[in-house]
Amino acid sequence: MKYLLTTCFALLLCSPMAMQSVSANDEKTNIATLRNHTPIEGQQPTKSIPKVINNDKVQMRNYPMQPPLIPHTIRGYEVNLNSNKCMACHSRQRTAESLAPMVSVTHYMDREGNFLAELSPRRYFCNQCHVNQTESKPLVENSFVDMHKLMKQKSQQQ
């Protein structure tokens, strides 16, 4: 009897510790997704920097309100207090000469919907929404499905 009690007590004492160690282990493996289970003191060999897609071809948007992607390199393009290199081609006044697509009219609207002569300050920093793409595999799996595809599937099921 005494032996049984001691065992139970010992188990009770140990169990929270055991649980803790399991959860810590779990956390460790979960956090390490991008590091690919590399031990914290180690380092993976560096991957090469992928090339930026520079084909000037419009890429399909994944949903209607997606900011269009930049299909060209933007190395050294300054967007700051002094100048906005993007607008040297994409502003309303410049598109006739550059043949680049004009930024949408929403970029000339303030938050109340009033039209401004110049680019709205809240839309000034192009790279907040618009990015270019590289020739590389996604780092994590992406299960995004286009709304259009979902609707199609639904109508086919009915």
């Binding site: 000037d56 050294g76 300054e78 207090l81 002094n82 100048s83």
Partner: protein, 195 residues
């Protein structure tokens, strides 16, 4: 003063008393080589990156800006240093530019841009000088390396080929018209053509 000048004039007019003609001719020739060589060596010494960035105005501002750009850091290891773009390569034009640069020595002595704030305040004026110079000589310093006749449009991106084969080919535009800020940060571009 007048006496001294007259004395010098008479000395120069008289034939040499002590030295032979051969010595004078050969000596003059050797001295000419030494002086000319010395002059050119000194000139070339001022035509190096190390000389340019020996002033903190250049080291702290424009030299920092050029380093991440394509003309400094690139895959093929060809680097354009300061004088490649800012000093003409041909001798006559080089001397003309060097004479104009005496204004820059003035600026250095009187500290026209000796702080970051002063440099930023003057950036537009300084940039406009460089743009005007390159516009006037049809971007000669660009073309020292980038020869239009040697360009392979098929190797360029579609956009670049379209621009180069029209505006640049017709001579309507020159390099600097589109490639402002290629190597240094831009000043305020308000009211600059093409912005």
């Amino acid at each position: 003063m007048k006496k001294m000048l007259l004395k010098a004039w008479y000395t120069m007019r008289r034939p040499s008393v002590h030295y032979s003609l051969g010595f004078l001719v050969l000596g003059g020739f050797v001295a000419g080589i030494i002086f000319w060589g010395g002059f050119n060596t000194a000139l070339e010494a001022t035509n190096t990156e190390a000389f340019c960035i020996s002033c903190h105005e250049m080291q702290d501002n424009v030299y920092q800006e050029v380093q991440p750009t394509i003309h400094f850091t690139n895959r093929s290891g060809v680097r354009a240093t300061c004088p490649d773009c800012h000093v003409p390569h041909e001798w006559t034009n080089k001397i003309a530019r060097k004479m104009k640069a005496s204004k820059e020595v003035w600026g250095k002595i009187f500290g026209t841009i000796n702080t970051r704030e002063k440099f930023l305040a003057n950036r537009k004026r300084l940039a406009e000088h460089e743009w005007a110079r390159l516009k006037a000589n049809d971007s000669l310093e660009c073309r020292n390396c980038h020869n239009f006749d040697y360009m392979d449009f098929t190797a360029q991106s579609d956009r670049a080929a379209a621009m180069h084969s029209t505006s640049l080919a017709s001579g309507e535009k020159t390099c600097i018209d589109c490639h402002k800020g290629i190597a240094h940060q831009l000043p305020n571009m308000d009211s600059v053509e093409g912005w």
